[in-house]
Symmetry: D2
Subunit: 246 residues, 4 copies
C-alpha cells in the first residue's frame, strides 16, 4: 500500500514521472490530473484514469531521481558491469571514483560490501545524498579520498571498477589491492582513453575485453511496431580484465 512520503513512479502514456507522494500534491499532464491523495492507501500497480502508479525500480530511481553532478553511469552499463565483476554476497568490491553514485547503487545489490572513493568533495556529497534519499546502499562505505591516498591492504578486494579520466597512474596500486585473478572493469568515454589504457595493462591485467552496450527501444503500439526515432548513441566504452601474475 502506498503511504505518504513514498516515492512513486507515474506513467502516463509514454511519459514517466518520479515523485514524492505528498498528500496535497498532484501531477498534471495535458489537462489530466492525478491527485496524490487518491494514491495513498492504494496498491502498487494501481491504474487511476490514464495514470499508472508504481513503486519505482532501481533503474527509474537512477535515471529520474539521482541528482547529477557528473555524467551518471547508465543502468544498461551498470547492470552489465555488476555481473561481469562476478559479485555475490561474499564479495568485497572497490570503486573509484564514485561520481553520482549510480553504479554504487547497483553494485550494492549484488555485492557483500562496496568500498567507494571519490576525490571531489561535492561529488562525494551528492552520491551519498542520492543513495540516502532513496534508502539504497546500506553496504556501501563512502570515502572522500582519491584512491592514490588510500592505505590499502594487499589482496583485499575481490573485484574493482574504475571510472576516472586517467586510470593509468593507479594501475599498480589497483593490482596490489586485488585478490589473485580478480575481475576489474573500467568506464572510458573516449577511444583515446581506451587506447591509452590498453597500452598499460600489459603484465598486470589479462583476459582483456572492450565493448559497448547499446539499447534500442521500440514504440509499444502493436499496430505500428518500430524502433524509437532517436536513441542514445554512446555512453562509454567498457574495458574488462582480470588481475594476472607471471
Amino acid at each position: 500500500m502506498f503511504q505518504e512520503g513514498d516515492w512513486i513512479l507515474v506513467r502516463y502514456l509514454d511519459k514517466k514521472y518520479l515523485k514524492r507522494l505528498e498528500l496535497k500534491q498532484s501531477l498534471n499532464v495535458k489537462k489530466n490530473t492525478l491527485k496524490f491523495s487518491e494514491v495513498i492507501g492504494k496498491p502498487d500497480g494501481i491504474k487511476i484514469g490514464k495514470f499508472e502508479v508504481f513503486k519505482p525500480t532501481l533503474e527509474e530511481i537512477i535515471v529520474l531521481g539521482f541528482e547529477r553532478k557528473t555524467q551518471i553511469i547508465y543502468p544498461k552499463d551498470a547492470f552489465y558491469i555488476a555481473f561481469k565483476l562476478g559479485l555475490s554476497k561474499e564479495k568485497r568490491v572497490l570503486e573509484f571514483g564514485t561520481g553520482s553514485g549510480a553504479l554504487c547503487a547497483v553494485l550494492s545489490q549484488l555485492a557483500g560490501e562496496v568500498y567507494t572513493y571519490e576525490a571531489v568533495e561535492r561529488f562525494y556529497n551528492t552520491a551519498r545524498k542520492n543513495l540516502e534519499r532513496f534508502n539504497l546502499g546500506k553496504n556501501v562505505k563512502f570515502h572522500n579520498l582519491d584512491f592514490s591516498e588510500v592505505e590499502v591492504e594487499k589482496g583485499f578486494f575481490d573485484a574493482a571498477f574504475v571510472d576516472v579520466r586517467e586510470p593509468t597512474p593507479y594501475l599498480r596500486k589497483l593490482h596490489t589491492s586485488l585478490k589473485e585473478g580478480a575481475p576489474v572493469g573500467f568506464l572510458l568515454p573516449t577511444s583515446n582513453q581506451v587506447v591509452e589504457l590498453l597500452k598499460n595493462t600489459e603484465g598486470l591485467f589479462g583476459n582483456v575485453e572492450v565493448l559497448e552496450i547499446l539499447t534500442r527501444y521500440y514504440k509499444t503500439v502493436p499496430e505500428r511496431f518500430r524502433p524509437e526515432d532517436t536513441m542514445v548513441g554512446h555512453t562509454a566504452y567498457l574495458l574488462f580484465c582480470r588481475k594476472v601474475i607471471s
Copy 2:
C-alpha cells in the same frame, strides 16, 4: 589455488577455452602447449607462456560451458533482465520456460528463490545438469511442468520472466500468481510475437517497455583500435511491464 577437477578458463591471444583441470590433460593451440599439471597449485590469474588461466566467470560458464538443447539467453540479456525484475535476496521470482537454464543461473545470483518451470523433459534435464555441473543455482527449484499445469498461490511471486513461444494464453494465470505491481519480463525472438503480446497486455500489465540490447566488441590492439568485424545482430526483443489493477 587451482585444484584438480576445477573448471578453468584459458585465454590464448583472443581465444578462450573452458576446460576441466585434469592432471594428465593439456591444451594445444598453434604449437603451444599448456600442461594442466603445471596449473594445479597455481593461483587464479596465472600466466604460463602465452596462456592466461582463470577461474571462469558466470558469463564464460554460460557461453562456453552450458549444453544447449535450446537457444540460450545471452548474458548481455540475462544481466539486464535480472536487474529490471528488481530482484534481491528477499524476492521470489518465477521463470517459465527454463530452456537451457542460462537465465536461471543469473537470476539465482540476485534473487532469494527462483521457481522455474519447463514443459519439455529433455530441456528440464539439461538445465538441471548445466547448473549442477558448475555448482550453480542452489536456490533454484526446478519443475518439469508447463506453467498452465502449476497450482499457483495468488500473489505468490515478486517478479516473473517468461520465455515461451506464445505467452498470451498464460497471461491471466501469470497476473494472478504475482504480487501487486510485480515486474515481468518476456523474451521474444520475433517482431510478430511482440506485436501479438502487446495486443494482449491491456488491463493486466502496464508501464510497458520493449527494447533490444546490442553489444559491440572491439579488438584490443591499442595501435589499431576498432570494432570487431562481425557482431551478434540479434538475440531477442525484451518486453518489460508491471502488473496493474484498476
Copy 3:
C-alpha cells in the same frame, strides 16, 4: 565565386546553417557575425573568422533546405536506394508517392528520367517547389495522381521505388509496368508493414531483401574521439526485390 542569391552552407564549430546569400543579411552565432556582403565574390570553401562557407551539397539541401509536409527520406537511405535500383543515365525510374521530393532529387542524379506520382496535392506542390528552389530534378516528371489512376504502358520502367502506407493493392499494376527483372524498393516505417508486404510479394517479386541503414556520427575532436551522444534510432525499413516471372 559566390554571387548574390546563391545558397550557402555555413559551418560554425559543429553547427550548420543553410542560407540564401542576400547582400544586406548576416548570420549571428554566439556574438560572432558573418556579414554576407563579405562572402560575395569569395570562393567556395572560404574561411572568415570561425565561419566556413561552402556551396551546399545535395545532402545538406535535403536535410536543411527542403520544406517537409511529410517525413523526408533521409540521405543515408536515399543514396543506398538510388544505387540498389541499378540506375544509370539510360534508365527510367518510377516513384510513388513523391512525398517531399527528397528521393526524387537523389534519383534524378543517377537516372535518365524519373516519373514520380503523388496523390496528395499539397505534397505534390511542396515537392515541386523544393526541387525548383534548389535548381534540382530537370529530368523529373511530376504528376499529381495516385499510381492506381495512371495509364501505364507494359514494361515501361527499368526500376521503381514505392513509399506509400499500403503498397499491397498496387503490386500487380507495379509488376505490369516494369521491365523483366526490374529492381524495386519499398520504404516501410513499421515492422507490421514489412510483414504485410512480405506476405504479398510471392509470385510477383523475388530476391527479396529487408534491411535498415544506421549512421553513427562521431565527435571530431581528435583528443576525445567518440560517438555522438544521441543518434537517429530509426527512419524506415527498406525492402528490395526484383520482378520475377515463372
Copy 4:
C-alpha cells in the same frame, strides 16, 4: 534474354550465387539442379523451380564477383561516398589507392571521369581486371602510381577519395590538386587513423564529419520477422570534409 557468356545471379532460398552462363554448366544446391542450358533465352527474373535468375546488380558483382587482393570497400559505404562527394556527369573525381576497384566501379556510375592511383602493382592489376571482367568503368583512368609521384595540375579535381594507411603526408598535395570547396572523403579502418587525420586537417579542410554506416539485415519470413543473427560489425570509419582557404 539471357545469352551464353552472361553473368547471372542465382537466388535459391536465402543463398545467392554469381555465375557465368556456360551452356554445359549447372548449379547444384541441396539436391536441386539448375541447368544453365534452360536459362539461355529466358528473360531476366525467370523462376525455374526454386531458383530465381537475375542479371546481377553492381552490388552483387562487387560482393560476389570481385577478386580481392585487399579489403574491398563495401557497397553500403561506396554508395554513400559517391553521393557525399557531390558527383555528377560534369565532375572529375580523384581516388587513391584503387585497392580492388570496388569504389571505382561505383564512382564511375555517378561521375564524369574517375582518375585512380594505386602504388602496388598487383592491386592495380586486380582492380583493372575486376572492372574489365564485368564491363564496368569505361570512364576510369587507372594508374599504377603512388599519388605522391603524380604530376598534378592545380585545381584539377572536383572531388577526391582517399583510402591509404597514412593519409597525412598526402594532404598538401591533395589540397593543391582540388578545386575550391571540393568535397573529400577518407576511409579509415581504425580509430587511431581517424584521430591522426583529425589532427592534420586544420587549415586545409573544413566542414569535417566522421561517421560509420551500419546495415542491419532481416530474415524475410513474414511469420517470423526478425533481424539476422549476425551482422557486419565494422568495415571502416568515413571522414568527409571540404577544401578550405583562409
